[in-house]
């Protein structure tokens, strides 16, 4: 037990009990707190060094592996990204060499930039109309061609059996691959490997089968009369497996795609003529396509690039 402390009071000349020394006590309390915190920190710091647990070692190893991997991967990814960038440039150059213009990502949506407000509304209306037509196309009942659905013999099927239809060059003014001048390209060029089956776009009668060694023009080609003045023409074929006068139904194999005539790459040159006048075959190709595919094909076909024949 601590003995009591006294204080001398000079006024009364007496010894009085001293008050509790709060200041000193507070100093010690502070010291205690500071030391406690300090010791806690020191202990928690020293613990992994002096008494490491197994779990800790495992975690440390893991972290090290991750850190190292991240560092290595970062360099590798940068290198790969650089390489892929290079590839894309090379691909662009290649596309330019083959098609005479750089490859563009086929983007269906039209980006309207810097358009005045009043024109935006018109654009929006136009988009809505186009989308309505595309929806109709998807359902196979295109308003512009109501008769198409009614006539099973009309050329409405894609002339190539493929899951991924593409167009290399469309209908209209194109660049000739040989003399590089502009000329009117009366059909669409559908890239196809040599020997890929070509099917009739609709039912009809084969009215012409031409086999030609000439390295210009259509090469080997077939014409099918679908009645009412609609004729489809399949050119640059490798082989033809139908005869003149033969009746064919839609989707029948009529030959194999090739590189005959003035073709510079294996493809099918497909034309549709109404009363001997060539029309854009895309107007007929309404079956089996979703709106997106159709729009993509339209976009691909509308590029003014180099044709394949």
């Amino acid at each position: 037990m601590r003995r009591r402390l006294f204080r001398y009071n000079p006024k009364t000349c007496q010894y009085e009990p001293a008050p509790f020394p709060w200041a000193g006590f507070l100093v010690y309390v502070l010291l205690f707190l500071v030391c406690t915190c300090g010791f806690f920190a020191v202990i928690s710091r020293l613990q992994p060094v002096l008494f490491p647990t197994q779990n800790m070692a495992m975690l440390a190893r893991q972290n090290l592996a991750y850190a190292q991997s991240i560092r290595l991967m970062k360099a590798d990814l940068a290198e790969m990204a650089h390489l892929l960038n290079e590839f894309q440039h090379k691909e662009k150059a290649l596309s330019e060499k083959i098609f005479g213009l750089p490859r563009k990502p086929s983007n269906v949506q039209v980006q309207a930039r810097n358009v005045p407000e009043e024109n935006k509304k018109i654009l929006a209306d136009l988009h809505r109309k186009v989308n309505t037509i595309l929806d109709d196309v998807q359902r196979g009942e295109w308003i512009a061609m109501p008769a198409v659905a009614a006539r099973p013999e009309w050329p409405v099927w894609w002339p190539l059996e493929t899951s991924n239809p593409t167009i290399a060059s469309g209908f209209g003014k194109r660049i000739h691959p040989y003399h590089k001048g502009k000329y009117f390209h009366y059909g669409i060029d559908i890239p196809a490997a040599k020997g890929h089956g070509v099917r009739s776009a609709g039912g009809g009668k084969v009215i012409r089968v031409v086999r030609s060694r000439v390295e210009s023009g259509y090469g080997n080609y077939v014409e099918i009369d679908h009645g009412t003045g609609v004729i489809s023409r399949y050119a640059c074929l490798d082989e033809i497996v139908v005869r003149t006068g033969q009746q064919v139904e839609g989707g029948r194999l009529i030959g194999y795609a090739g590189i005959s005539g003035s073709a510079v790459a294996p493809h099918l040159h497909f034309e549709i003529l109404i009363n001997s006048r060539p029309v854009n075959p895309m107007l007929f190709m309404v079956r089996n396509f979703t709106a997106e595919t159709y729009a993509r094909l339209q976009a691909e076909g509308s590029r003014i690039n180099q044709s394949l024949d």
Partner: protein, 320 residues
């Protein structure tokens, strides 16, 4: 002067209490000891409740690393998609266009069976890291395939383009100046000798001095005066093609000179065995004369071509 006093019952006096460094030090040591014991207790309590703080730190670090790693995997994924697009277009479009056989499945999927590079030892026990490395190596391997393939495609495209530029493809004269095209190719009655003789080319009847154009890029292999051909230019186009332009009034190219398609090489004349000013044009493929009509690109519809060729196959007159 001491500030405080203590009552001593033995002496019945108040004695001053002095604070020496020794007493203060003693007190401080006691406080620190107490603090040490308390902190040790607190540490044990903390560990029992929350686990070791060092472990917690490591775990937090692990979470950070994992997040960073996943971000990198996302980047890797986008790179994979880009590369896959490149390979797919390579395979489905460009190889098709260039008439090359497509890459085999084995080549495309290379690296799925076993990785060509070993996964580093430190990453091996961790599935996430190992998987990432596996994907990276596969990507790298495929990128190598794509690189080689693109090089092949470029070479082939260059070759094809060169062939397209070199192959005779246009008419050697301006068709607006053309007064008559003799489409004879094959046997015909010779206008001077009056006997059946092989005619190896086409005759373009034009006024004297009309320019004659090279029909494809190539090297002039010969340009001289021959008694039968008159002034004649031979152009070697490579790829097996050779063209000859005969009966020229004069030629303006030298042997060994490189000419481009459409370049003027001479002027129409009436030299050699010839009855009127005209250009005699021949195309040879691998040493054999072929009908030059086959090489005129589409300026005419296909039907017109067929008519021309049918006409050419019939025996008719010619100018030499």
């Amino acid at each position: 002067m001491a500030a405080r006093f203590r009552y001593n019952p033995h002496t019945c006096r108040y004695e001053p209490v002095f604070q020496t460094p020794k007493t203060v030090g003693k007190q401080v040591v006691w406080v620190m000891l107490l603090a040490f014991v308390t902190s040790t207790g607190a540490f044990y309590y903390y560990v029992s409740q929350f686990g070791f703080p060092a472990e917690q730190q490591l775990a937090a670090g692990y979470e950070q690393h994992r997040k960073a790693w996943h971000e990198q995997l996302q980047q890797l994924k986008s790179l994979e998609q880009t590369l896959w697009g490149v390979l797919e277009r390579d395979n489905q479009q460009y190889r098709l266009m260039l008439d090359l056989s497509p890459l085999s499945e084995d080549q495309l999927l290379a690296g799925t069976g076993g990785t060509p590079e070993p996964i580093p030892d430190f990453a091996f026990p961790y599935a996430e890291l190992a998987n990432g490395y596996h994907r990276l190596f596969r990507l790298r391997h495929r990128a190598q395939i794509a690189k080689q393939s693109l090089e092949v495609l470029h070479r082939e495209a260059d070759r094809k383009n060169k062939m397209k530029e070199s192959r005779p493809a246009i008419q050697p004269v301006d068709s607006r100046q053309l007064s008559h095209l003799y489409t004879t190719f094959g046997l015909r009655m010779h206008p001077i000798f009056g006997v059946l003789k092989e005619h190896k080319g086409l005759d373009f009847s034009l006024p004297k001095g009309a320019p004659v154009y090279a029909t494809g890029n190539g090297r002039v292999s010969l340009a001289h005066y021959s008694p039968s051909y008159g002034n004649v230019v031979y152009i070697d186009h490579g790829f097996g093609y050779e063209t000859r332009y005969a009966h020229l009034n004069r030629f303006i190219v030298q042997p060994g000179q490189y000419v481009k398609r459409g370049q003027t090489i001479g002027y129409v004349g009436n030299t050699g065995i010839s009855v009127s000013p005209h250009l005699h044009y021949e195309v040879h493929y691998n040493g054999e004369p072929v009908n030059p009509l086959y090489f005129f690109q589409r300026d005419l519809p296909a039907e017109e071509y067929e008519k021309l060729i049918r006409k050419a196959e019939k025996t008719a007159g010619s100018l030499d």
